[in-house]
């Protein structure tokens, strides 16, 4: 069943077209990789889906509901959660409060004991449950990333958008991170992940999209996509009369 339906999504900033008529579908429970060189429009596409930016044109349908051009908070309440490319935690709040936020204001709108137990559960999932009342601003970079993921999970989203969540981790942390996302996939959640680390993409995503200068240049099974001539050209440059 189609979870997200994107039709001819377009975003231009003045004369620059950052996302150029991109169309694709995501099925429920799918883990989709979104690849492409720097500046190819991946994060802008995520921003369009999450409502951080309004599209110039195009249609976004989540579970049959049109959410084109809606505000970010309305889209969040429809069940889309995300992490940010540059980690964004709420530094003056405790870990527990950080994670309570989307549980309280997201699709479920919980309060009281329910919100605390969802928040605890999410912190447990990422391995931060022993520091509930620590201040988020004091965390290390990796723990901030974990916290951000826990916050996205506490929304109990139908669709999770990860923007280079695995970037900047050392090999051990990367292995833990991949295992963490793998454990999520068994819960039936749908994930779109922007990622540069091919090891992670191969391990996690059966299907990939590849963007280059705003256009979608490949969509298909990961193995096939990664050996596609256009994709290799996008990353390494055109092979001319070699």
């Amino acid at each position: 069943m189609t979870m997200l339906h994107v039709t001819r999504a377009r975003k231009s900033f003045g004369g620059l077209v950052a996302v150029n008529d991109v169309s694709f579908d995501v099925a429920g429970g799918e883990i989709l990789g979104l690849l492409g060189p720097n500046g190819s429009g991946k994060t802008t596409l995520l921003n369009l889906i999450s409502g951080a930016l309004a599209p110039t044109a195009g249609r976004f349908v989540l579970n049959g509901q049109d959410m084109t051009g809606q505000r970010a908070d309305i889209i969040a309440r429809q069940g889309i959660a995300r992490t940010f490319q540059l980690v964004r935690i709420l530094p003056s709040l405790t870990l527990l409060e950080n994670v309570m936020v989307p549980a309280a204001f997201g699709p479920a709108r919980l309060w009281g004991e329910a919100v605390v137990s969802v928040a605890r559960e999410a912190l447990e999932q990422v391995g931060l449950s022993d520091r509930l009342s620590a201040t988020a601003g004091d965390l290390t970079y990796l723990d901030q990333k974990r916290l951000e993921l826990a916050r996205a999970l506490a929304a109990r989203p139908r669709l999770l958008l990860l923007d280079e969540w695995l970037a900047g981790l050392n090999p051990t942390e990367l292995r833990d991170g991949i295992a963490l996302i793998q454990s999520l996939s068994t819960t039936g959640i749908t994930i779109i992940m922007v990622e540069h680390i091919m090891e992670a993409v191969r391990a996690l995503c059966p299907r990939c999209l590849v963007m280059n200068s705003g256009t979608l240049i490949a969509d298909g099974p990961t193995q096939a996509v990664l050996s596609d001539r256009h994709v290799i050209a996008a990353y390494l440059g055109e092979v001319e009369h070699a």
């Binding site: 505000r71 908070d73 969040a76 940010f84 964004r88 935690i89 003056s92 936020v101 309280a104 929304a155």
Partner: protein, 304 residues
């Protein structure tokens, strides 16, 4: 439980003291409680969201001026009701049009708002009614004013405590930390800010209305004095604007200090006031309560 009992006893004691005070001391107490109310109400919106508002006197003055206009034509309770309503509507209009502004732009706008309202009223009075300057004759005694203001202060702190435990409080904190994250977590930014701003501004307007009979003679340049806005901000910041008791802890010592300074050094008072503002921002950027907490933790850490 014991905290609530302590609060109740304190309020009862405060309510009982006018009988034992001289007129001067009672006047002092009214001023003190007024600033506790203003600082607490200011912090209700600005404390968590970090939208620094200099519009306090725009609402405070509007409240006082409403009483000046209506005091002869309506019974007192209705006058208060009208003042509250005017504050509410004004806050709604201002909130809807400005809460999209970020940071410094909001500060400047809020400062300009008080000036705008003052000039509008002056223009109206000069050109339409032809009376610049109005008298307030009400049989509200100083004690009556004190009790009303005390009730408003208790209500304000109670409301802040309630908000702090509910969704609205969490939403305001999140907005203060990161509006992008707030929106992506499902928080309706405009609605949340508007609710808090309207509550805060309505209380401030009521405070102006309640305090107004003390003036007897009212004109725009008297009731829209920007110093009120600055004092309110500095009091809330000194105590800690994002804490329930912070504004009170800042308002009490600063009000008494300013009162003493204005009596003892009437000529140099404005200069001292300016220096104090700078000192508070430099020495206690997080507020007294936070500094005291940090100091206590350091002592504990030192002995452990």
């Amino acid at each position: 439980m014991s905290r609530i009992a302590l609060a109740v006893v304190t309020v009862v004691l405060l309510a009982a003291i006018p009988g034992y005070l001289s007129d001067y001391s009672l006047g002092l107490m009214i001023g003190l409680v007024t600033y506790v109310t203003l600082a607490s109400a200011w912090a209700l919106f600005s404390g968590h969201t970090r939208y620094v508002s200099l519009a306090t006197v725009a609402f405070y003055g509007s409240g006082a001026y409403t009483v000046a206009v209506l005091n002869e034509s309506l019974p007192y309770p209705l006058v208060l009701l009208c003042a509250g309503l005017i504050g509410f509507l004004l806050a709604l209009i201002v909130g809807l049009s400005t809460l999209r502004l970020a940071g410094i732009y909001f500060v400047i706008f809020s400062f300009g708002l008080a000036e705008l309202i003052r000039q509008l009223i002056t223009w109206y009075e000069v050109n339409v009614t032809g009376t610049l300057g109005r008298y307030i004759f009400l049989d509200v005694t100083a004690r009556g004013i004190y009790w009303q203001m005390l009730a408003l202060a208790v209500f304000t702190i109670g409301l802040s405590a309630w908000i702090g435990r509910h969704r609205l409080g969490l939403a305001l904190k999140v907005i203060g930390d990161d509006e992008m994250v707030a929106a992506h977590s499902g928080i309706d930014l405009s609605r949340t800010k508007l609710i808090a701003f309207t509550l805060s501004s309505t209380i401030i307007t009521l405070a102006g209305a309640i305090a107004s009979p003390r003036w007897t003679y009212v004109e725009p340049s008297l009731v829209f004095n920007p110093t009120v806005s600055f004092l309110t901000v500095i009091m809330a910041l000194l105590g800690g604007a994002n804490r329930l008791w912070g504004p009170l802890m800042g308002a009490v010592p600063l009000f008494l200090l300013f009162e003493w300074l204005s009596v003892s050094f009437p000529d140099t008072y404005p200069v001292i006031l300016g220096l104090m503002f700078i000192a508070v921002v430099f020495l206690f950027p997080q507020g007294l309560l936070s500094s005291a907490e940090a100091f206590r933790n350091r002592l504990k850490g030192g002995t452990a």
